[in-house]
């Protein structure tokens, strides 16, 4: 059951002119959250913007005794709501509804987990990494961005002991070009006997390319899709994505309650608007 908490802003750490990490005091949501789930945040007290915005739960914060105390979200300034969130200061309160959505399923050893992130698509992978590590599965993160300066928060993953493979479009860190290049090479090199699952979140073209790579290598691939959402609860039908089940015809399914995590093989990528 989702909870609505009028959450105090604990901190808002600006990482760049666009990115910030916003910490919210929301113990009950933090305690219930599973990897890949999201919250709906009201970015203002008034009616402009009117609707809430969906955000992946980036980190689960814990107090000195290890009890869940809050969450963070990774915010990228894109429109009016995210600009308000970028500017928000500690002490402010934001209405926070969650946790919502179908979570990632972490795999157990001896399976391997490869996470593929582009830009703000990094958001769901901290909690997934923690869940994987708790099961004894060592995750690898394939992390791509335009340039090295945009590779935010890699330290969180380093601290967890996650193996990180970088790619930047300008070659300033890791492989030059898209993350699909080192990922494709790694998939080529992986033995067929290796039980492997891919987890992907990022721009739609990137997710589509990774889904194609995974299909070509017959690897299970879970994607976390980011869509315009009105309610996050299944009420408005605004966040639909084109999916195909068991060879049936393509249909629209709600990414808020049927997702945001989908088996990439269900998604009709050529139809997915971006």
């Amino acid at each position: 059951m989702p909870l609505d908490i009028d959450a105090a802003v604990l901190s808002n750490r600006r990482l760049s002119d666009d990115y910030s990490v916003l910490a919210l005091a929301a113990p009950a949501i933090a305690a219930a959250a599973r990897p890949g789930q999201f919250v709906m945040l009201k970015t203002s007290r008034g009616m402009d913007p009117l609707l809430r915005r969906p955000f992946s739960i980036f980190e689960v914060l814990r107090d000195a005794h290890g009890a869940p105390s809050g969450i963070t979200i990774l915010n990228k300034r894109i429109g009016k709501g995210t600009a308000l969130l970028y500017e928000v200061e500690p002490g402010a309160r934001l209405e926070c509804l969650g946790p919502l959505g179908r979570p990632f399923e972490p795999v157990d050893p001896p399976a391997e987990a490869w996470m593929v992130a582009g830009g703000v698509g990094l958001a769901p992978f901290v909690t997934l990494s923690e869940a994987l590590i708790a099961r004894g599965t060592a995750p690898t993160l394939f992390y791509g961005a335009r340039r090295a300066a945009d590779l935010h928060c890699a330290d969180l993953f380093e601290r967890l002991g996650v193996t990180i493979v970088y790619a930047t479009e300008d070659g300033s860190r890791g492989a030059t070009g898209f993350i699909t290049a080192p990922l494709g090479a790694a998939l080529d090199a992986a033995p067929a006997s290796l039980d492997l699952r891919l987890y992907v979140c990022g721009p739609t073209p990137m997710m589509r390319a990774v889904a194609a790579l995974a299909a070509a290598h017959r690897r299970r691939c879970d994607v976390s899709l980011e869509q315009v959402m009105g309610c996050g609860m299944g009420g408005c039908y605004s966040c639909v994505v084109p999916a195909r089940d068991a060879g049936g015809p393509p249909h629209h399914t709600r990414s808020c309650i049927d997702g945001p995590v989908f088996d990439a093989a269900r998604i009709v990528w050529e139809a997915l608007a971006h």
């Binding site: 989702p2 009616m47 639909v240 629209h252």
Partner: protein, 313 residues
Amino acid sequence: MADLSVSIGGLRLANPLIAASGCFGYGVEYADAVDLSTLGGVAVKGLFLAPREGHAPPRIVETPSGMLNAIGLQGIGVHRFIDEKLPDLRRRGAVVLVNICGTTLDEYVELARILSDAEGVHALELNISCPNIKEGGITFGCSLPGTHAVVSAVRKATRLPVIPKLTPNVTDVASFARAAEEAGADAISLVNTFLAMAIDVETRRPKLTNIVGGLSGPAIRPIAVRMVYECRQAVTIPIIGMGGIACADDVLEFMIAGASAVQVGTANFVDPFIWDKLLHGLRAYMQRHALERISDLTGTVDTARKQTAWISS
């Protein structure tokens, strides 16, 4: 104890708050968050005979104090609704208003017959006002003979309360209320959304794939209140008012203007826990005004002009 119950065309509701069609899925989506039996009613998402996929996204866009939508009536069709959703709604004690949409008169009649035989349906809301699909629906709702024809045809096909949902996209909504009443409607609900448009000035493209959509939210509330007030003067059947309700005062405003019950839509997107807050606000108002029955509030707007003139002529 404050009596929050209201009557709509023979249907007794525990309170005047109904979840608006198209804004609450099939109701079951919210069952974890809201005890559906505590709502006055649940108007489920509009149903055709057959399933529909609706429009391609983007389907919504925000505007000041409101939003446009062009979902295109995606839905599972009446048969899957009866098989998959209705038993759950029944079990949870929901008062179910089924919103039906047709492309022809016969489709409305067929839907009414099918739903009349289904256990757990309490009323039929006729969607003759969706602005987002070209065929059917709105073509009935924008013509007085069309409104009369569809309401009387459904009236003959069912014993359930028949509640046509009126569009505000007409010159004189009261004449449509009269046409519905004359055709045998038990109540009317209004307003559906206002046909509207938003354009991205950078790309010069419409923000919705469907180009146009329906405006809802607090932005439309004063117009909706005026329309409920006009319809109250025109008909004697109960009115279910809606349009941008976001707090208890908004509920009260619609009731004072002439509504016997209200529907809440867009505000539920913003706050799925709004229902308890609204009920709490209604109870507080009733206590403050020593009002025993909320139904006594309906149509009590005081329009008598004060006679103290500032300037005598």
